[in-house]
Symmetry: C2
Subunit: 197 residues, 2 copies
């Protein structure tokens, strides 16, 4: 029935979110205009307001969208029955592949601080915390099972996620290395940092 309409609206919203994320990549929040977002979809900027309350609302929903994808990915890894080494490897690779293939969306997450309402900011930070927490669980498991060194979990997680997130700053689709290759090497080296020898 009306769910047909609702579906169509949802789809359009997704399109807009993706377009928004794409522009956000290169321009940053303040540099992104409603005009540019809509132009990519052959719409006029006015029509954005049929789907979103305003620009801030749009960006906020960008965050929710990508965070959901990230959390889905890592949840699967954590809940799998691999050993910690394999889990950490997979988590790292997963993160890199997501960060590079969905580069647009990922970069939008870089600085959520501004322009968000207290509640929105709260929500975004909460989701991030969940994500970090999954990494902590993997590292902790590795230490428990004595396959990782006794490490400062938080520090190690910050180092790893820092290294991973920074990839967005230099990764280039048309560069010499594929995301898979990068993921392979990164996982390899970063594991060297944590596994017992």
């Amino acid at each position: 029935m009306s769910s047909f309409r609702a579906q169509k609206m949802a789809k359009k919203k997704q399109e807009i979110l993706r377009s928004a994320a794409a522009v956000l990549v290169e321009k940053g929040y303040q540099g992104t205009t409603m005009e540019e977002i809509s132009a990519k979809l052959l719409m006029t900027k006015g029509s954005m307001y049929y789907y979103f309350k305003n620009k801030d609302d749009l960006l906020y929903q960008c965050h929710l969208m990508i965070m959901e994808i990230c959390l889905d990915g890592i949840e699967k890894v954590v809940d799998s029955d691999c050993n910690p080494i394999e889990k950490l490897k997979r988590a790292i690779k997963e993160h890199i592949l997501l960060a590079t293939s969905e580069k647009a969306m990922f970069m939008a997450l870089a600085k959520p601080n501004h322009n968000f309402s207290k509640e929105q900011l709260q929500e975004v930070l909460e989701l991030r915390k969940s994500y970090s927490h999954y990494f902590d669980r993997i590292i902790n498991e590795g230490i428990d099972k004595q396959v990782f060194d006794r490490l400062d979990i938080k520090m190690v997680r910050l180092i790893i996620l820092g290294a991973l997130n920074w990839i967005q700053e230099w990764y280039d689709q048309s560069g010499p290395q594929t995301a898979e290759e990068i993921a392979e090497v990164y996982a390899d080296y970063l594991l060297k940092m944590v596994v017992k020898e």
Copy 2:
């Protein structure tokens, strides 16, 4: 003579650059207004134009300023006569201490892409490349002297600098850990990744 005048002018320029960097931290390039920069110094935005051609020029000079400081630091480390392990440790710590103490300036460097002229962008990227190159030299020396594993130098450098640069995203002056403590732990763990066992 007039060098007195020139000095005073230079000093004022520095003040403005620092104020600009401070605002840039939290607002990003597009979010930073000439008004806010000048307000911090109890000036009016109009007077900025006595010292800088325009906003872009101002931000560009911010870049040059901080890059100079960075390069000075790492040059000293590279030219010292420590062993590669010590050098890499010191380079990492130096970077972290700079990035945290001069957080403002450092973050301004995050995304130099936009709004810069071709020449300005060229210059900034060139300086960055020099900086990376110093890290490469240290890593290379470590491999040559057989104290480091045979590594993909570029990848390792990207991992290390990524981890370091990401610190800005979460580091909090009033947080539980001092920059020194963070630097210590980071250097420790990252070294684990490269040194031969």
